[in-house]
Amino acid sequence: MSVRVFADTSALLAMVVFPHDQAGNPSLAGEVLSLYVEGKFELILAQAVVDELDEVLYARFPDHWLEAATLLRPHAEQFVRRPTPAEITAVLPFSADPFDAPIFASALIAQPDIVLSNDFRAFHTPQAKLLWQERGITVKSLYGLLCVFGLRERKGD
């Protein structure tokens, strides 16, 4: 069974907009995108994350937003439902910023193996890690996910 990875908006944007660096070499996000394309893990997207992605694309890629939305729309049924207010309230103590709570709650609904986020101020804080740990979920950065697949060495090892 493949690893189930819940992607935060930061990781998702990095994967689809910045898959390579300025020199044209694959970025960390690009390497993670390649792993996804190769079917090395199952990607879980939440409607709350797609809502944010949609708005970012509408604002910053207006000429391509419609085409992007058309690509995503057929997969809407796969997206994790938006959390209820009660589900969001339950995770508020674990989020440094209340704005992140809907995404945290979406991750708990999805029950992934890994939460993938490069937003260290929100997803990798001690209290956030406590939440993930309680639910048997690990949080990884893009680099950390590549370590899981043996493509990078853990720093400090």
Partner: protein
């Protein structure tokens, strides 16, 4: 080149045989087993009466010695044949490609060149995403959460 392969269910009482076709088509191969109700009876030989088969294709793939050894180790560890391990890996890969995977690669082909052309930085885009997250919070959730908090307090 065509081949035929029988399927059987784990735990079913069966006699498993591998029988090369006696027919004029020597490219055909039959691997037969009994004990499965849903598959069609194998009828090419009375000697394997009650066995079942379905059609498969034979392919030849070339792999590095290292991968070959890894596959053999995997097969031994899981008490499966090398063929079964290879088939399962291919099935898994094919499923991952044909499932309704979200087309992130296509999205990337669409958006990445635009970001390059317009010199949009990752930091800038992620900061924008944070602003949007905050706005969505206020528009969609804040009031409902505040309404809920006195009840939960």
């Amino acid at each position: 080149m065509s081949a035929k392969l029988a399927f059987w269910q784990p735990g079913a009482s069966l006699i498993f045989r591998r029988v090369l076709s006696k027919s004029s088509n020597f490219d055909e191969e039959f691997i037969c087993g009994g004990g499965v109700d849903k598959l069609e009876p194998c009828c090419y030989s009375a000697a394997i009466n009650g066995a079942y088969f379905m059609s498969v294709k034979r392919i030849t793939i070339r792999v590095s010695p290292k991968l070959h050894e890894q596959l053999i180790d995997l097969a031994q560890a899981s008490s499966k044949s090398l063929n079964t391990v290879a088939v399962e890996a291919l099935e898994s890969f094919a499923a991952s490609q044909t499932e309704e995977a979200v087309p992130l690669q296509q999205l990337s082909y669409l958006l990445s060149p635009v970001a390059d052309a317009e010199q949009i930085s990752e930091e800038e885009l992620l900061a924008h995403a944070r602003v949007i997250r905050e706005r969505i919070w206020h528009e969609r959730y804040a009031e409902r959460i505040q309404a809920l908090e006195p009840q939960s307090a």
